[in-house]
């Protein structure tokens, strides 16, 4: 092996290694593989309160990720938050009376949307709205409610 060959092989190795590292970062260490899906459909849902829900948050059904949140907006006519989510194309059969609820992963974790299918025979399709929703629990409100109830128990008027 002469000098040029060693040099060129080294450069080749370097480039392969670098691209492999980039590939690994994308495929194994991030959500690139599951990102895909232009082939999905979009549904919307309105919530009274979304807590700390963010765009890109997962949408789960039975604990399995089926889509993600793509947009969050505020509807000024109804004074509600409007959440747009994209469901993967392979999950086609969510009934129209599916419930969407905002949950928290763990005590301090991220917010996500959980879908609970209902019993209708018609399915959600692109542009549908999920009518049955359950807002996020906001810790201050829950605590406030709890204290209020306790107080009422003690001093019933």
């Amino acid at each position: 092996m002469n000098k040029t060959t060693i040099l060129e092989t080294g450069v080749g190795l370097f480039v392969v290694l670098g691209l492999a590292a980039l590939f690994m970062l994308a495929m194994k260490m991030s959500n690139f593989a599951t990102y895909s899906s232009k082939d999905g459909y979009t549904v919307t849902a309105r919530f009274e309160e979304i807590g700390g829900l963010k765009v890109q948050a997962p949408v789960n059904a039975g604990g399995v990720r089926v889509g993600r949140v793509t947009g969050i907006d505020y509807d000024e006519k109804r004074y509600q938050a409007k959440v747009t989510m994209q469901i993967d194309g392979r999950y086609k059969a969510f009934p129209t009376d599916t419930t969407a609820a905002i949950y928290t992963a763990g005590l301090l974790g991220e917010k996500y949307i959980g879908l609970e299918p209902g019993g209708e025979t018609e399915y959600l399709k692109n542009g549908s709205e999920i009518r049955l929703t359950q807002s996020a629990l906001v810790m201050e409100r829950v605590l406030g409610q709890f204290l209020f109830n306790k107080a009422q128990e003690k001093f019933p008027n």
């Binding site: 040099l7 450069v11 480039v15 970062l25 260490m29």
Partner: protein, 259 residues
Amino acid sequence: MTMLRNLGHWWLGIMARMGRSLIFLVQILFGMHELLLRHPREVVMQLYSVGVLSLLIILVSGLNVGMVLGLQMYNTLVDFGAEAALGPVVALSLVRELGPVVAGLLFAGRAGSALTAEIGLMKATEQLAGMEMMAVDPIRRVVAPRLLAGIISMPLLAAIFSAVGIWGAYFVGVGLLGVDEGAFWSQMQAQIDWRDDVLNGVIKSIVFGVVVTWIAVYEGFDSVPTTEGVSRATTRTVVAASLSVLALDFLLTAMMFNK
């Protein structure tokens, strides 16, 4: 009064240098097409001395930083019973910050100083003037391939640094400390966004590559052509390039992750 004057003098000097280096960059970019058409092999040669020769220090440092991160984060997270979050925490710090920044600093020290010294010595031994008298433009022939090689190498080196670092944290966390392997990878995948985190990290490293190499070749080309001048220019490259990496990192972070 004299202090004010010195300050003004110093400031004007800095401004003049920045102006000159900007003109220099424009000159290099104008010669780029010619380089790619006529001397593609020269870029390969420079990829070797800029990229391949920096590989060892990047691999060793990446592994080390990753292992230390794994250890430290584990000790903190385990108190909250959240050691399953080790994967995303380590990966986020590496991909967003430590990968581009530490690789950039190492690159400034390893490749940047070498570039400045090489070009400075070529100037001091009249090789650049000789080239000019042979009707060969040293900016196109000597500087442009080095700049291009630096811009190509830096993102690859940063990606290698991050990937090796994550593997280092994996060895420590999963291998030694018993974090669940499935949780380590799946949490990482769920938390790390390829566009917000990985792509932004790559963009950062490209910017660092441009700036570090630009400073290095400019300092070499602009150095006083004596032994002392070249050694000073080399020091200036490492200092200026490292500070630029840190300052730009703050700016870029503020722009990218400020939601």
